[in-house]
Amino acid sequence: MYIIIVGGGNVGYYLSKYLLSEGHEVLVLEKDAVNCARFEDDLGSICVRGDGCEVSTLAEAGTSRADVFIAITNEDDDNLVACQIAKFKFNVPRTIARVNDPKNEDIFQKLGVDSTISVSGLIFQTIEENLPAHPLVHLLTHAASGVEIIEIKLHDRSKAVTKSVKQLKLPAGFALMLVIREGQNPQVIGEETAFKSDDRIIAIAPTGKENELRDLLIGNHESD
């Protein structure tokens, strides 16, 4: 695949290094000469000095034959414009923008960017996963199907304890997949599986409805 990256800072550097090792053709567009020299020295002729929001620069970079276009500068406005020009002027099938202000994630997608990476979102998620007492952990967002994969930890007063999946009567769109118990292999959850305190449940919930599932399994979170 031909992948164009706008922004040759640290993220751009390691990303292009990785993509090259995967056998892709990579081109980095970077405004700063010093940053460009680092690519030239370490990774060969894969960096062009220029503004990735400029139509003429993108034309020379062969953007119209790019399969993926990734804008990862520190400026949200630059990332948005670069992706929009790539998508609407050069018909790049997949555009990805780094979003520095998490509010912009939704806005960028509404404005035509195919996917967004929110740096602060990723940091939140990692911290969330590492908080031991947190009952609900996001594992994965599957944007295309509007679904979240989450992990929920039951405690002794959780609603789901001693109940089976059948008894819980989950609304459509929710599903419980795996139960993980201390010292055991993960088990696929069936209709009759009954839950215990300290069970960790891997579940699917529609995006934005994670708390509904938590209320069903654990109880109203205000009472926690």
Binding site: C53, V55, D77, L80, V81, Q84, I85, F88, K103, L111
Partner: protein, 136 residues
């Protein structure tokens, strides 16, 4: 008429003052409070410090009630981003944005954004002027 102007540079401040005189309800937004010195002392509108590419800031500036949004900062990309947030997220009926780069202006115009490139406008104006002089 409610107007939100992003960018209180020479053009932004001048336009804000004119529309204020015309009796419109004007809000000017700029990241730098020092820019508001350009507004006339009898300016009757609102001046607000903030970033117009920030959706929350636009809300504070009354974007939800705005009839017109004009993006006039020095940055083409900031203007384009704010204009799209105003038009496509907050559904402001009339959005105009300044894009210095003529090629970028063409791209966004084809996407349905009303854009003006001072670069081409001024160059054309100069050419017209020069041809008048030569004729005279």
């Amino acid at each position: 008429m409610n107007v939100v102007i992003m960018g209180c540079g020479r053009v932004g401040a001048h336009l804000a003052a004119m529309l204020d005189q015309d009796g419109m309800k004007v809000t000017v937004l700029d990241k730098d409070a020092y820019s508001f010195r350009r507004l006339p002392s009898d300016f009757g509108g609102t001046a607000l410090v903030g970033d117009g590419t920030d959706a929350d800031m636009l809300k504070k500036a009354g974007i939800e009630q705005a009839d017109i949004f004009i993006a006039l900062t020095q940055g083409d990309n900031r203007n384009v981003m704010a204009a799209q947030i105003a038009g496509k997220i907050f559904n402001v009926p009339r959005v105009v944005c300044r894009i210095y780069d003529p090629l970028r202006k063409d791209v966004y115009e084809s996407l349905g954004i009303e854009a003006i490139s001072p670069t081409t406008v001024f160059a054309e104006l100069l050419r017209e002027r020069l041809s008048e002089k030569t004729k005279g």
